[in-house]
C-alpha cells in the first residue's frame, strides 16, 4: 500500500516535471516557428526576385506597375528614425540614469521610477497619435518646411518612448558598481560628478552599452509610431523633414490592404520581416551577452 502510494507520487512528480519542461520548450518552438515561417516565404520570394536585386536596388515599388524590390529605401527609413530616436533617448536616458543612481535621494527614486514605467507602458498607437497631431504641428511652427508626415517627429517621439528603457537598465548597471569604488574616489577628494563620470560610468559601461543596443533594437522594430506619423513613401534619403517609410510600416501597410495569399506582394512582407528579424536578433544576442558579462563581474 505504501509502496503503491510512493509509486503514484513518483509518477506524478515525473509527469509534472515533463509537463513543465514542455512549457519551457515552447519558447524554443516559438523561435523555430518564426524562423521557419519567415524562411519559407522568403525563399519563395527569392525565387522570383534575385537576392542581389533585393539588397542593391535603390527603389521599393512592389505595388506599382513598374515593380522594384530594393530594400535599401526601407532600410534607410528605419535607419533614419532609429538614429533620431537614439540621439534623443541615449543622452536624456543616461543623464537621468546618472541622476537617479548618483544624485537622487531614495525618496525621489521611489517616486520617479514607477512614473517612468508608465511612460514605457503607454501603447505605441497613442504615441503615434501624439507624433502626428501634436509634435508635427508644433515642429512646423519652428521648421515651416516640415511635411505632415516625416521621420523627425516620429523619431523624437520614439526616442521619448525608449528613454525609460535606457534610463532604468543603465541605472541598474550603475547601481551594481560596488560602493567601495565610489568611496575610494570620494576619499581622494572627488565630487559627485567626477565619481559619476570617471568611476561609475566606465565601470558600468558594458551594462550601459547593452541597454543602448537593446534600445536600438527596440527602435528598429517599433511599428505603430512610424506607421502613423512617418508616411508611406519609401525613399533613399537622410532628410528628416520628408515622408519616408520604414520596414515595419511597410508590413503594416500591406497587411491593411487585401493582398491575396501567395502573391509576390504578400511574400514581400515576409522578406522584410526576415531582414528585420536578423537585425534585431544580432543586436539582442549581443546585448544579452554584454549584460551577462557585467553581471558576472560584480556578483
Amino acid at each position: 500500500m505504501l509502496l503503491k502510494r510512493k509509486f503514484i507520487l513518483k509518477t506524478k512528480e515525473i509527469l509534472i516535471e515533463r509537463l513543465l519542461f514542455f512549457c519551457s520548450l515552447l519558447s524554443v518552438v516559438t523561435t523555430l516557428g518564426i524562423i521557419l515561417v519567415l524562411l519559407f516565404e522568403t525563399l519563395d520570394f527569392f525565387k522570383e526576385v534575385p537576392v542581389w536585386q533585393f539588397l542593391t536596388d535603390t527603389q521599393w515599388t512592389p505595388l506599382f506597375v513598374n515593380k522594384h524590390f530594393g530594400i535599401l529605401p526601407l532600410l534607410c527609413g528605419t535607419f533614419l528614425t532609429t538614429l533620431i530616436a537614439i540621439s534623443v533617448a541615449i543622452p536624456v536616458g543616461l543623464a537621468s540614469a546618472v541622476y537617479l543612481s548618483e544624485y537622487a535621494s531614495l525618496k525621489i527614486r521611489n517616486i520617479v521610477k514607477p512614473l517612468m514605467e508608465i511612460l514605457a507602458a503607454v501603447p505605441t498607437v497613442v504615441y503615434g497619435y501624439f507624433a502626428l497631431l501634436f509634435v508635427t504641428p508644433l515642429l512646423r511652427k519652428i521648421i515651416p518646411d516640415l511635411s505632415g508626415f516625416n521621420s523627425l517627429s516620429s523619431g523624437i517621439v520614439m526616442g521619448i518612448m525608449i528613454i525609460p528603457l535606457i534610463s532604468s537598465l543603465s541605472e541598474d548597471a550603475m547601481r551594481a558598481v560596488p560602493m567601495g569604488l565610489r568611496e575610494g574616489a570620494y576619499a581622494v577628494g572627488s565630487n559627485r560628478l567626477q565619481v559619476a563620470l570617471r568611476i561609475v560610468l566606465p565601470a558600468a559601461l558594458s551594462g550601459i552599452i547593452a541597454a543602448s543596443i537593446l534600445a536600438i533594437s527596440r527602435a528598429i522594430g517599433e511599428t505603430m509610431i512610424v506607421a502613423i506619423a512617418a508616411g508611406q513613401q519609401p525613399r533613399l534619403t537622410l532628410n528628416p523633414l520628408v515622408p519616408i517609410q520604414t520596414i515595419t510600416a511597410y508590413i503594416v501597410q500591406i497587411s491593411l490592404g487585401d493582398t491575396p495569399h501567395g502573391t509576390l506582394e504578400y511574400r514581400t512582407i515576409f522578406a522584410c520581416g526576415m531582414s528585420l528579424f536578423i537585425m534585431t536578433f544580432i543586436l539582442n544576442i549581443f546585448s544579452f551577452k554584454l549584460k551577462r558579462r557585467f553581471q558576472e563581474i560584480y556578483e
Binding site: T30, F40, G128, I163, S167, N191, G221, I269, G273
Partner: protein, 315 residues
C-alpha cells in the same frame, strides 16, 4: 602665503575647485531636467488627448459600432474585441508562462540546453511585435486555417507575452530564499509539493505584478493584430459565449465566437487616426482616453501590488 609661486598654485586650485563645484551642480540640474523631460511629455500627452477627445466620451460612444459619420461612431466592437482577446491571451499564456518559469528556475539543471533556452527567451523578449504578427499570419491564420479569428489573435498575443511572464515568474521565484525550500524538503516534501505549497503561494504576488504588466502590454498591442489581418472596420460582435434565450435550459454556452472576426481598441484608434477627415481625430482621442485609462489602471495596480508585497514580505 608670501611665496608668490605657492599663492599662484593655491589660487588656481581654488578656482578649479569652484569650477568643479559649479559643474557638479550644473549636472544635477541637467539630470533633473532629463528625468523630468519624459514625465512632462507624458503630462502634455495626456492633457492634449483629453482636450481633443473628452467631448466624445458619452454613453453612446461605448454602445455604438464604428460609422462613416465621425459624430455617430463608437467603440462597441473594439472594446468587446479587446475583452475577448485579453481573456483568451491570459488563458493561454498564464499556465504556459508560469509553468515554463517554474521549470527553468526550480527544475532545470545548469546545462547546455538550459543555457540555450535562456538565451532564446531573452531574444524572444526583444523580437519586434510585428514579427509575432507574421508568425501568427503564417502559422495560425494560414497553416492552421484559423483565418482572422479571435483565436488566431489570442494565440499570437499569447506567444508575444510569454517571455515577459516567464521572466517575471523566474524573478519572483528567485527572490524566495533557499531556506524555505530546504525546510520543505527536510519535512519530506517532494519537489512539486514544495513548489505547490511553499514557493508558488510565496511568489504569487510578484508573479501577478508581472502578469498584469504583460496583459497591459497585450491590451495596447496593435501591429501584430493588424499583421494577422484583424479587421479595421467591423459592425458586429463575435458570438457571445453565454446566451440567455431560446428554449430549455434558457442558458446556452458556445465557443463559436472564437472563430469570428474581430477588431480591438488600438486598431480602431489607428483606423481613425489614419482617416483624412478631421472629425475622426476626436474619436481617436476618445478611444485613446479609454485605452490609456485601461493600461494606466493596470499599471497602477501592478505597482501598488509590488509595493505591497515588497513591504509585507520580510524573509
Amino acid at each position: 602665503m608670501n611665496n608668490p609661486a605657492l599663492s599662484k598654485i593655491n589660487s588656481s586650485f581654488v578656482r578649479k575647485s569652484g569650477v568643479n563645484r559649479r559643474l557638479d551642480s550644473g549636472f544635477r540640474i541637467l539630470g533633473i531636467a532629463s528625468t523630468a523631460f519624459g514625465l512632462v511629455v507624458l503630462l502634455v500627452l495626456i492633457i492634449d488627448i483629453f482636450l481633443d477627445g473628452a467631448d466624445r466620451i458619452k454613453w453612446d460612444f461605448f454602445v455604438s459600432f464604428p460609422s462613416r459619420k465621425p459624430e455617430l461612431a463608437g467603440i462597441l466592437s473594439a472594446w468587446v474585441g479587446t475583452v475577448w482577446i485579453m481573456v483568451l491571451t491570459a488563458l493561454i499564456a498564464l499556465p504556459l508562462g508560469i509553468g515554463a518559469g517554474i521549470y527553468l528556475e526550480e527544475y532545470a539543471r545548469k546545462n547546455y540546453l538550459t543555457n540555450f533556452i535562456e538565451i532564446n527567451i531573452a531574444n524572444l523578449a526583444g523580437v519586434p511585435s510585428v514579427i509575432y504578427g507574421l508568425l501568427g499570419l503564417g502559422l495560425f491564420v494560414r497553416y492552421f486555417n484559423l483565418d482572422r479569428s479571435v483565436l488566431a489573435g489570442g494565440l499570437t498575443l499569447a506567444l508575444l507575452i510569454l517571455p515577459v511572464i516567464i521572466l517575471s515568474t523566474r524573478e519572483a521565484l528567485r527572490a524566495i530564499p533557499s531556506s524555505i525550500r530546504e525546510a520543505s524538503y527536510a519535512l519530506g516534501a517532494t519537489k512539486w509539493q514544495t513548489v505547490q505549497h511553499q514557493l508558488f503561494p510565496a511568489a504569487l504576488g510578484n508573479i501577478m505584478t508581472g502578469v498584469i504588466l504583460a496583459m497591459s502590454r497585450a491590451a495596447g498591442e496593435t501591429a501584430p493584430l493588424i499583421t494577422i489581418g484583424a479587421l479595421t472596420y467591423i459592425a458586429f460582435l463575435p458570438q457571445s459565449p453565454v446566451a440567455f434565450s431560446g428554449g430549455f435550459p434558457f442558458i446556452h454556452f458556445s465557443l463559436q465566437g472564437l472563430f469570428d472576426p474581430f477588431t480591438v481598441l488600438p486598431i480602431q484608434i489607428f483606423n481613425w487616426v489614419s482617416r483624412p477627415q478631421k472629425g475622426f481625430f476626436a474619436d481617436a482621442a476618445a478611444g485613446i482616453i479609454v485605452l490609456l485609462g485601461l493600461t494606466l489602471i493596470m499599471n497602477a495596480i501592478a505597482i501598488l501590488l509590488r509595493h505591497h508585497y515588497q513591504k509585507k514580505v520580510r524573509w
